[in-house]
């Protein structure tokens, strides 16, 4: 059988972990802000955040290719400040994953914040807690299931990234070849054995993630 390189699987896991961590940090304040905003601001913003859910990956890939170009802004700025070009690089894949998976993190968080009674925040404010303290000691502990759902869903979804990565990844062996692309390549090259190994591992991984979500949901209900 064609020899199997586990690099793409590790890279996929790494990109998924980094993107999930960054998304968590971005989405937590954003989701909170959105639930506090007036409807005219909130719903357009929420719609924007959900665009990656409905747009074809090719649309994202096309725009990212233009945005990443070091020839013009913002790619030129990124290159000047951080000395990286986003196209064909791992930072670029992370940026793509963040945009691609944004709805999967922000939506559970928004419903999490909404499910909390307003009284919680109000009482804490009256007790003199700062917004950060409220977030850390009141809100987050009370919406753990929603946060976990967001994290696991985002992670899962990033594992499945293919179209965007194919358009902006440049398929550099050992650097930007994700597991999904490795499957595609092996199938195209008629190496079905290798394709089976990658696909099988991805199936098991995705199944475990989803199982985690369902178990968490069950626990969450009990806690409530």
């Amino acid at each position: 059988m064609h020899s199997i390189d586990f690099g793409p699987l590790w890279l996929t896991l790494r990109i998924a972990l980094i993107s999930t961590a960054i998304l968590f940090c971005i989405c937590l304040p954003l989701a909170f802000k959105l639930t506090q905003s007036r409807p005219w601001l909130r719903y357009p913003m929420q719609a924007m955040a959900n665009l990656p859910l409905v747009l074809p990956p090719t649309v994202l890939g096309f725009y990212l290719l233009l945005l990443f170009s070091p020839e013009r802004l913002p790619g030129a700025w990124v290159k000047a400040v951080f000395h990286v070009t986003l196209a064909f690089s791992q930072p670029g894949l992370v940026v793509a994953s963040i945009i691609f998976s944004l709805p999967f993190m922000i939506n559970p968080m928004i419903s999490g914040f909404e499910s909390l009674p307003r009284v919680l925040t109000e009482e804490a404010t009256m007790d003199g807690a700062t917004p950060w303290q409220i977030m850390a000691h009141v809100l987050i502990p009370n919406m753990r299931p929603a946060l976990m759902a967001g994290i696991v869903l985002t992670f899962c979804h990033t594992l499945g990234e293919f179209g965007v990565a194919l358009m902006v990844g440049g398929k550099i062996p050992g650097k930007t070849v994700l597991a999904s692309m490795a499957v595609y390549d092996e199938v195209e090259s008629l190496h079905y054995g290798a394709a089976h190994v990658y696909s099988g591992i991805l199936c098991v991984l995705a199944l475990c993630c989803l199982l985690t979500i369902f178990l968490l949901n069950r626990k969450g209900h009990r806690a409530l």
């Binding site: 233009l66 170009s69 070091p70 440049g170 398929k171 195209e188």
Partner: protein, 260 residues
Amino acid sequence: MNHMNSMGEMKRRRLRPFALILLVLAWNAYSQITVAVAANVQFAMEELKTEFKKSTGIDVKTSYGASGSFCTQIKNGAPFDVFISADMDFPDSLYKWGFAKEKPKPYAYGKLVLWTLKDFDLDKGLSVLSDSGVAKIALPDPKRAPYGREAAKAMKKSGLYDKIESKLVYGENISQVSQYILTGNVDIGFNAKSIVLAGEVAGKGKWKEVDSTLYDKIAQGAVICKYGLENNPSLSQRFYEFLFSDSAHAIFLRYGYVLP
């Protein structure tokens, strides 16, 4: 009994429009063929299609991509009547596997070019790739796209490959390489002469033929697929013969190919 008959009559009447639609669909399928075309032939193909339609009235539906991908798809039953590859190996393997009517014949020879939108000195030949200003070089995936395979060969033969391997970026096919070059995401790239000569990109940046002693000239072969043989034999044959006609040759020449 009478009641049953009128029911049957009604059903038949209701079905009539569907029969008509089916007929139209069948007629359309009859007067068109579907062709899988290597990405480097894309622009020439648009002219070939127009020319073929003018002389025969037959519509040609085209799908553009990497030859290797098409080869796999056809082996897995993709409904293409004719396959226009970027090399001889892929259509030849189709023939060996029983998915093509006969051994492929070369319809044109393709040439490799270096293409850039930036101010590099292309007269230096491939050694321009080791310039410090060149950070990213694009080529089609050598595993699946013949132009990529030959580009890699040329870099190896000129002794540059090991030095510049870390700068290489791979496109799915030759068109994706063009996008990488045109959007400025790479500094320079390998492409087909037939692409840089096309009206769509003419005047964008500059290009230079790669020294032809560094790679094997790219013989591009075509075959009638098993699907075409079984479903569309006469139209497929007509289109296949057209590829070797004088009017097709004139178009290939205009797009920088060398004739067989």
